[in-house]
C-alpha cells in the first residue's frame, strides 16, 4: 500500500513574507540549535522504546519495559494489562502513554479510574512521567485539557457524557476494567461509544469465572476478535459456565493480554510471615455468642443470618448489635420478647473485647505502622475509640470516603499516626507499602478479598518482610474458616495472583457463598469439617495442576 504523503505548508507564506520584507531574520546560532533540537527529539525506528531513557528518575523493572514494548509492537496499543496485584500496572500504562506521546502518536488521552484513585493517578503521571494529567473537575476540562483523569461515573453522566463522546481520543485507559464486564450496564455501553484509537484495560482479575466477561472486555478493545456473541458462545461455551476449546481461547486471549506473575519477574520479593493469633473469648463474650443459637432455634433468624451475626460477634458486639437490632425491629412481638431480651442482656454484659485487647498488645509490641482490616464499620469505630483510650492514635479508612479524605487519611497514616483501620471497601487500589504489618481482625469468606488486603502492602516498593496476623476466636465459625480452609490451602503464603487463577479454573463462582452454604447446611461439626475439607482439597488439587503446568512451561 502506498502511504499518503502529506506536506505541511502552513509556514510557506511566512517565509515568503520574510523574503519580501528582508527580515526580521533569526539568529543563525539559534537556527543551528533548533536543527539540533529537532534531530535530538526524532525517533528513527518503529521498534523499541525511547521513554525509559527519558525517565532517569524512575526505577523501572524489566517486566514493565517489556510489557510496554509488547503492547505497542505486538498488540498495536490495544491490550489488557492484567499483571498480578502489586507489579505496577499503573507504571506500565504510564510508560505506554509516555512512549506514544514522545512519538507524537497520542495527544488526547482519557483515563477512567475508580473515583478513589483519580488523584493518585494524576499524581503518579505527573510526578513519575512528567505527563501533564489533570483531574476532571469542571466541564471545560474535557475540551481544554489533553490528558484527563476522571471517574467513569462522572464521565458517563450529563452534562459530561455528551462532551466526552464528542472528543476524539487517541488513547483511553480504563483502570479496574473488570467492573465493565457486563454488557448491559451503562458503563459498558458508554465505553463502547467512546472514540478511541488505542485502548488499555487494566485489571488484576481478568479471568473471571464467567466466560462472557472476557468476551465483553476483549470486545471493547477489538470488536470481533473473539467473534460476535453468537459465535463466541458456539465456539467456546459449553453450558452456562464451562469452557470448550480452552486452548484456542487462551491462545487468542494471550494475543491481547499481558499478564506478569510475581514468580516470572525475577525480582526479590519480600517474604510473607504469617501468624495465626488464637483469641479466647471472655466468659461474657462466649455466653453472648452461644445465646445467638437460641434465635435460630426459635425460628427468629434463618441460617444465613445466624451465620452473619456470629461472624459479627467474633468481631465486636457493636457489629453484632447492628444486625441484631435490625432483625429485632422486624420480628419482635410479645411472644418472642423474652428471648430477644435474653440475647440483648447477654450482649450488654459484654464489657471487653478479647480481640481488641490482643490487638493492643500486638500493636505495642510491633512498635511500627500497623494496618488493621475489619469487615465492619461498627468494629472500625469501636477500635478507634478503644485504641485512643490507650494513647494510640489511628485513622479510619473506608471505601465510602471522598477522594480528598482518602488521600488525607493515607498521608496522615504515612506521616503521623501508627495505626490505620480499614474496612473492606478500602481494600482496592490504595498503596500502603510503607507499612509492613497487617492485622486481619476478622476474616472475609472470599479468599480473593484477603489477597487484596495483603496486596496493599505486599507490592512493589515494599522493602521489609511483610507480617500478617490472623485473628481468630477459638471455637467459633471464624476459627473453622481459618483452620479448615485458609490454612489448608496455604492462602496466606500463596504467590499473589495464583489464587484468582485457581478459583477461575475450578469455576467456584462466589467462593464466600459456597462457604456460607457449607456452614448453613451442615448439621454437625463433623459434616462441616468434611465439607470444608473437600473444598480445600479441590482448591489444592487445582493448585498442584497449575504448578505442574508451570513447571512444564518452564522446562520448555
Amino acid at each position: 500500500m502506498e502511504p499518503i504523503i502529506q506536506f505541511d505548508r502552513s509556514w510557506q507564506n511566512d517565509f515568503l513574507k520574510k523574503i519580501d520584507d528582508d527580515g526580521p531574520w533569526a539568529n543563525p546560532e539559534l537556527f543551528e540549535l533548533a536543527y539540533q533540537a529537532e534531530k535530538e527529539s526524532m525517533i528513527p525506528s518503529f521498534q523499541g522504546l525511547v521513554a525509559p531513557g527519558m525517565l532517569p528518575a524512575l526505577n523501572l523493572h524489566p517486566h514493565q519495559i517489556e510489557t510496554a514494548r509488547q503492547v505497542i509492537e505486538k498488540m498495536h496499543g490495544k491490550a489488557i494489562l492484567a499483571d498480578e496485584v502489586g507489579l505496577g500496572k499503573t507504571i506500565e500504562a504510564g510508560l505506554v502513554i509516555k512512549e506514544y506521546m514522545l512519538r507524537g502518536l497520542v495527544r488526547k488521552v482519557l483515563i477512567l479510574v475508580p473515583a478513589s484513585l483519580v488523584l493518585q493517578w494524576v499524581a503518579e503521571l505527573n510526578r513519575k512521567f512528567s505527563i501533564p494529567a489533570v483531574p476532571q473537575r469542571k466541564t471545560y476540562v474535557w475540551d481544554a485539557c489533553d490528558i484527563v483523569v476522571s471517574s467513569i461515573d462522572t464521565a458517563k453522566r450529563e452534562p459530561h457524557r455528551s462532551l466526552v463522546l464528542k472528543q476524539d481520543y487517541d488513547l483511553i485507559v480504563i483502570d479496574e476494567a473488570h467492573k465493565l464486564k457486563n454488557q448491559q450496564t451503562r458503563n459498558y455501553q458508554f465505553v463502547r461509544e467512546l472514540r478511541k484509537k488505542f485502548c488499555l484495560l487494566l485489571t488484576a482479575t481478568p479471568i473471571q469465572n464467567r466466560l462472557d466477561e472476557i468476551f465483553y472486555l476483549v470486545s471493547i478493545l477489538k470488536p470481533g476478535f473473539l467473534g460476535n456473541e453468537a459465535q463466541f458462545s458456539r465456539t467456546f461455551k459449553s453450558g452456562n459456565r464451562s469452557v470448550k476449546n480452552e486452548d484456542r481461547l487462551k491462545q487468542l486471549v494471550d494475543q491481547v493480554m499481558v499478564r506478569n506473575r510475581r514468580s516470572d519477574t525475577g525480582m526479590d520479593w519480600p517474604k510473607r510471615i504469617v501468624a495465626s493469633i488464637p483469641v479466647q473469648f471472655s466468659a461474657e463474650e462466649r455466653t453472648f455468642y452461644q445465646s445467638l443459637d437460641l434465635l435460630k432455634q426459635a425460628g427468629l433468624v434463618d441460617g444465613f443470618t445466624l451465620l452473619t451475626v456470629k461472624r459479627e460477634a467474633c468481631s465486636s458486639r457493636e457489629a453484632a448489635y447492628v444486625t441484631l437490632n435490625k432483625r429485632y425491629r422486624k420480628s419482635a412481638n410479645p411472644e418472642n420478647q423474652q428471648l430477644w431480651n435474653t440475647v440483648f442482656q447477654k450482649l450488654n454484659t459484654v464489657r471487653s473485647n478479647a480481640k481488641a485487647e490482643k490487638a493492643l498488645e500486638l500493636i505495642r509490641k510491633i512498635d511500627d505502622k500497623v494496618i488493621i482490616f475489619t469487615e465492619y464499620r461498627a468494629t472500625q469505630l469501636y477500635l478507634q475509640w478503644y485504641l485512643k483510650q490507650y494513647g494510640i492514635s489511628s485513622v479510619p479508612y473506608s471505601g465510602g470516603f471522598r477522594r480528598g479524605k482518602k488521600d488525607w487519611m493515607r498521608s496522615l497514616f504515612e506521616n503521623r499516626v501508627q495505626v490505620l483501620i480499614a474496612t473492606e471497601a478500602g481494600g482496592e487500589g490504595i498503596n500502603l507499602q510503607f507499612a509492613s504489618h497487617l492485622i486481619n481482625y476478622d476474616l472475609p469468606w472470599n479468599p480473593m478479598r484477603v489477597e487484596q488486603r495483603i496486596g496493599r502492602i505486599h507490592r512493589l516498593g515494599q522493602k521489609e518482610d511483610v507480617h500478617i496476623y490472623n485473628f481468630a476466636v477459638q471455637d467459633t465459625v471464624e476459627n473453622h474458616i481459618l483452620d479448615l480452609l485458609y490454612n489448608k490451602i496455604d492462602l496466606f503464603e500463596q504467590v499473589v495472583g495464583e489464587l484468582d487463577e485457581i478459583l477461575a479454573r475450578i469455576n467456584l463462582k462466589d467462593l464466600d457463598h459456597q462457604v456460607s452454604r457449607i456452614f448453613e447446611e451442615s448439621d454437625s461439626e463433623g459434616e462441616l469439617r468434611i465439607k470444608l475439607d473437600n473444598l480445600s482439597s479441590v482448591i489444592n488439587s487445582e493448585k498442584n495442576t497449575l504448578a505442574a503446568e508451570d513447571g512444564f512451561h518452564a522446562a520448555n
Partner: protein, 267 residues
Amino acid sequence: MQQTDLIRYLTRFFKATGCTVLPASHQGQIRVRLTEKMDQLLMNRPFYWHYIHQTGGTPETATLVLNTDLTIAEGEPIYPGSPRLHQIFKAARQLAMFIRMYQKIPEQADRALEPWIELNVKISDRCDLKRDRMASIGLQLINGTLIEGFHQVLNKLELSSRMPDYCYTLTPLITVRSGLIRIEKLIEKELRGESAEWADEAEYRWNQDQRLLDLFYEHETEMPDVYTQECETLKELYQPRTTVRLVNAGLYYLRSETFLPDRIISR
C-alpha cells in the same frame, strides 16, 4: 545527549538568546540570568509580567539553575525527556524558523553570490507506529541545482548574516514559491521510490481488524453508528501516512565555486 553535550547546548542556547551565564557551583550545572524575553518564554508567570508592565516597575528576571547531574540537590534537574529541556527545544524552534546568510569571500574572488534556499524537514512514517528522519535540501534559484544533505554542506562554509563588502547578489530566475514546489517534488519522488513494506504491514493489520469488526456486526440488519465510528478510528490508526514537516528554512547567497566538483571550500 550526554551530560557534557547538554551543558554545551544549554550554554550556547542561553548565550544566543542574550541571557547571562553565571558561574555554576557544581560540575554539570548551569546557572543563568534570563533576559526579559526569555523569562516570559520560559518561566510561565504572565501575571508578574502583566503587573510589571501595568505599574511600570523595574522587572527582576529569574535566574535558572539547571543540573544535568541528577544527584545535585540545588536547582532543577534537566535531562533528555525532562519538561524543561522539551520547553527549551520548543523555544529554539519557535525563535529560529527562518534565516538569511551570505558566504564570506576571500580577497580577489568573484564578487557574485548566487541565491539558494535551504529546507530542513522532518519526515515521519506513521500508522499505529511511527519513525522519523531528517532531511535537508538545498535549491539554487538560478539553474535549479538540488543538493541533499545541504545542512552538512553549509556547516563547512563561513557564513555571515551581513553581506560582505563589494559583493552583489545575482537575481533568481526561479521564484522561491516555485522553488518550494521543486523541493517538494524531489522529496515526494524519493519517498515514492522507498520500500513501502511498513505500509503494507500496517495495511495488513488494518484489514485484519476491519474483517473482525465486520464479523462482529455480521448479523445486524442496520449498522449502528458505533460501527461507522469504529471504521473511522481504524483508518485513523492504521492508514499509512508520511508527513513532511518543516523544521526551519533559510535563504543563502553563496559563491558559485563552492559547488564545483571537489571544490567544496572548507572554512
